[in-house]
């Protein structure tokens, strides 16, 4: 997989800090799963976290170290093999795009909300756009991320294929067209509180009046 569109440094910093809203973290994690370059950058960002963690004024602990035992089975923990999609996403989708209960949003556009944790704000959603469908011009707020999971789309910023992430600034406007042969499946996240608002609604409004 050749990745050409990467995560912004500020997005990686928030990821290393563990300060990203869950919906955005899902998209970031999906990109990191397939992008060695961003994984390497993330390690550099983590050095900052380590340095700051190291410099914290220690808070005396009251209790002793927790009791631990050497149990059989402890040694069976092992690293996961490289994944194409984060495990959490595979679990949420049961791994199959073709069996998702897509909801029709507009002509040529379907969506499927991914359930977030109870404490999470924001919105995480799969979008499926049929081959050759042109979406109306729309903008993105600063806290929205989109990754291509299947197919491709093209816009003013280039062609976004599997694994590419759109980490756009506040002022970015674009007019994406889904790949004429494969169409496009994306995972889109926003940290906006109300569900199904933000750019997806803005984008679809002219199409569906929702």
């Amino acid at each position: 997989m050749k990745i050409t569109h990467h995560l912004d440094d500020s997005t990686l910093m928030s990821c290393a800090a563990g300060s990203q809203p869950e919906a955005l973290a899902a998209v970031v994690s999906s990109h990191l799963a397939v992008c060695p370059r961003c994984r390497a950058e993330l390690r550099e960002h983590t050095l900052i976290g380590e340095a700051l963690f190291d410099a914290l004024e220690p808070e005396p602990v009251v209790r002793e170290a927790p009791a631990v035992q050497v149990r059989a089975g402890d040694a069976t923990v092992r690293a996961d093999a490289a994944m194409e999609l984060p495990r959490e996403l595979v679990a949420a989708l049961e791994g199959r795009f073709d069996e998702i209960a897509w909801r029709r949003a507009a002509p040529g556009v379907w969506h499927f909300p991914v359930t977030l944790s109870e404490g999470a704000k924001g919105d995480l959603r799969l979008l499926k756009v049929s081959p050759g469908t042109k979406l109306p011009e729309h903008g993105h707020g600063g806290s929205e991320l989109t990754i291509v999971l299947d197919g491709a789309y093209s816009d003013e910023f280039g062609t976004f294929r599997r694994g590419d992430v759109a980490d756009l600034g506040d002022d970015a406007q674009h007019r994406p067209i889904a790949d004429p042969k494969q169409g496009c499946i994306c995972l889109a996240a926003s940290d906006a509180k109300p569900r199904f608002t933000g750019w997806i609604a803005r984008m679809l409004q002219p199409l569906a009046g929702i």
Partner: protein, 199 residues
């Protein structure tokens, strides 16, 4: 926050001096020989720091203490995943604490697994020279953080130490989101340049 910033600025360690190499050795002992004594030492060294981290992220002292216990228990359970070729013990424990914080304090899923879970680049054992570089890098990062302009170090601290998202930082400081992000980018570029210098 001010206290931490000051100690970072003064390039001074507010905690008894330790040698990172020894941390990794302790963790290796826990991993390889399930050494309970090494685990106790790790707890003594990291427990207070994890507790401090959790309190800055909004936990009260009791909860912070629970989370410090749980962080170190996770270290014990997952020690086999740790390899000192793949980074320092502190980074590893920081990551565990960070993910636990997301899970318990924010009640969200931590989407980033431990850095070791899929680290294809880390297969070569580090030679002694690289270990020196690792230590140098750590010192360098700390030194650069101490020299960041106040507006940049502020957003970095709010992100890493207080656990605020981009939007929350923008709201807290009354700044446009784009300004928060560009300050982060600038801060990171400085750290990165400094670290690359010693490669």
């Amino acid at each position: 926050m001010v206290q931490v910033l000051e100690s970072v600025r003064a390039n001074r360690h507010p905690y008894p001096v330790k040698i990172p190499r020894a941390m990794s050795d302790l963790l290796q002992k826990v991993a390889q020989s399930r050494d309970v004594e090494a685990f106790r030492k790790l707890f003594e060294l990291y427990g207070p720091r994890v507790k401090s981290y959790m309190m800055r992220q909004g936990a009260d002292p009791t909860l912070a203490e629970d989370l410090a216990q749980e962080t170190l228990l996770t270290v014990w359970r997952k020690a086999q995943l740790y390899s000192d070729e793949k980074g320092s013990a502190t980074t590893w424990i920081f990551t565990i604490a960070r993910n636990l914080r997301i899970d318990r304090l924010r009640r969200e899923v931590a989407w980033q697994p431990l850095p070791e879970n899929r680290d294809e680049e880390a297969s070569d054992a580090p030679d002694p020279e690289e270990q020196v570089t690792e230590r140098e890098r750590r010192d360098k990062v700390r030194a650069v953080l101490a020299t960041l302009p106040a507006d940049q170090s502020e957003v970095v601290m709010l992100s890493y130490v207080e656990g605020l998202s981009h939007s929350e930082i923008a709201e807290r400081l009354g700044l446009p989101l784009g300004t928060v992000k560009s300050r982060m980018r600038l801060a990171y570029q400085k750290v990165k340049e400094a670290v690359e210098d010693i490669r």
